[in-house]
Amino acid sequence: MNFNLSEEQNLIRESVRDFAEREITPVARELDEKAIFSNDLTKKMGDLGLFGMNIPDKYGGQGLDTLSYIIAVEEIARIDASQAATLAAHNSLGISPIYEFGTESQKMKYLPGLCTGDALWSFGLTEPGAGSDSRGTKTTARLDGGEWIINGSKTFITNGSASISKGCTVQTLTDNDTDNDNGKKSFTTILLESGTKGFKQVCMHGKMMWRASDTSELFFDDCRVPEENILGQVGQGSKIMLSTLDSGRLSIAAMGLGCARGAFELAMNYAQERKQFGRVISKFQINAFKLADMAMKIELATNLLYKACWLKDNEQAYAKEAAMSKLYCSEIAKEVVDEAVQLHGGYGLMKDYNVERFYRDQRILQIGEGTSEIQRLVISRLIGC
């Protein structure tokens, strides 16, 4: 076994960390407070090469391995969950399905622009009535004279309504033939560009977390798109969705790990400075043991997530480990941030302290891209229950 990161992976971590501390740290609190999506930071992440990290050079990507990308997400999340959300969603949900399932001309048309940070693409799966039950999709598409006509709506779509959002990969129901013998629904994914008549993208406000990321509702009212905008084949929607979510779980796990690491560092620094009863509070056993537990959880989460990435990079089955990583990293993020706030005492409840933002931001990680309950369902099936 070899647990050492490569020289390149270490340099990627160092670079993304330097970038996050130099560019994101100074503005994170204000962007969160005012709920502003930053085109500027998105562009800077593009300039650094964080979009399309896993896709080949010919499509504008960097051709790096999964672990390198996961380290990048983790390092951004260590500083700010909102920017990490923009990064993770665009890579895993925006770019990845087009690369994995697109035709050569679709890849050449969309991917180079999406790797620059000038443009974002979203993945439209969740609907008001289709959350954990993703097969409850009601948005429909039907062919009419060489065009798809899409009707319906999506909700909680990351990167769906920013001014630089160029479109969405929409999961649609193309054959709701539940009365037939096998009762199977047929799903198809279709590439829908912003600006298409009948496509409305509305930013969702009033979020508790990821306030500086773009979350949107999408409405489709007789949206007509060319037949060749289909991604993959008719009826392949479920496969595309499942594959995208497997890979996306690694990103959310990286966000949990980065969040936990960031909160742990804030707590450690604070506990080593804050004095009560004449001593720094990290010297009290009850706090020292808390910090020890936090460090142990982060170490375990790292090992699990990096192993899942290693499996994917070595073309081995990784769905179980991806679900475990998403579940474990997001749950320890919750536990670590909670203790980090506790160690900050009253100050941890104030917006002047970054740990307050971490406390809010971690809460989505047990919900987004498959709840903790759904992860347990996935794992239980994969272990043969």
């Binding site: 340099l11 670079s15 990290m53 960097q62 051709g63």
Partner: protein, 249 residues
Amino acid sequence: MKILVCVGNVPDTTTKVRFAEKNTKFDTNGVQWVINPWDELALTRALELKEDSSNPVVHVTVATVGRAGAEPTMRKALAIGADDAIRIDTDPEDSSFVAYQLAEVIKNEDYQLVLCGIESSDYNGAAVGGMLSEYLDLPSVSAVTGMTFEGADIILSREIDGGIEEVSLPAPFVAVVQKGIAKEPRIPAMRGIMMARKKPLKVVEVAEAETLTNMTEFEMPKPKPPCKMIEAENVAELVDLLQNEAKVL
């Protein structure tokens, strides 16, 4: 024009310093290594000069004296944008030894400009740049905070008491640079990191040279005693402590 930037591999500035072997060696266990910050700024300026097509700079090389453990630092310099790298395969014993090794490599090549950071953030000797120019028999300018081209001449700015002086001289020379030479060091982009693996990193055998110094002992500064706070109205107690405990009055 080719520029050579001398790059030191130093412990990260947040490293907790410990010593080994009866306080005669720096304990490198668990140390994170980085490019010496002054050298990193020198490299940044060299790359800025190369990227401006109105300047005659066509090639930037980085060189270091160090063992294989220094290679991640060199690879980072390549990822930032240096064209190639040279590592002289030996421990950097002292300033004179390092300057001699660098000179041996530089004198056989056609570098018109040699840049060094003014000091390293570990030993702060501030000696290599000057010694290197002596070994190369080249002029040197120290504490350079600005560098631009004007025709064939290079204009160097130096901070002096109350102002800035500008000097102009033709290449070749050694410029020993101070903070201000570049705004901030560059962060390597993913593409640069990918390209760095394909750039040449040449390992050179050590030249025979005498080590002129011998490290006898390192000593840690004594920990400061805790700060005592005295109420503003309690002047008598303050005077008493200054006289009898601190013994400064």
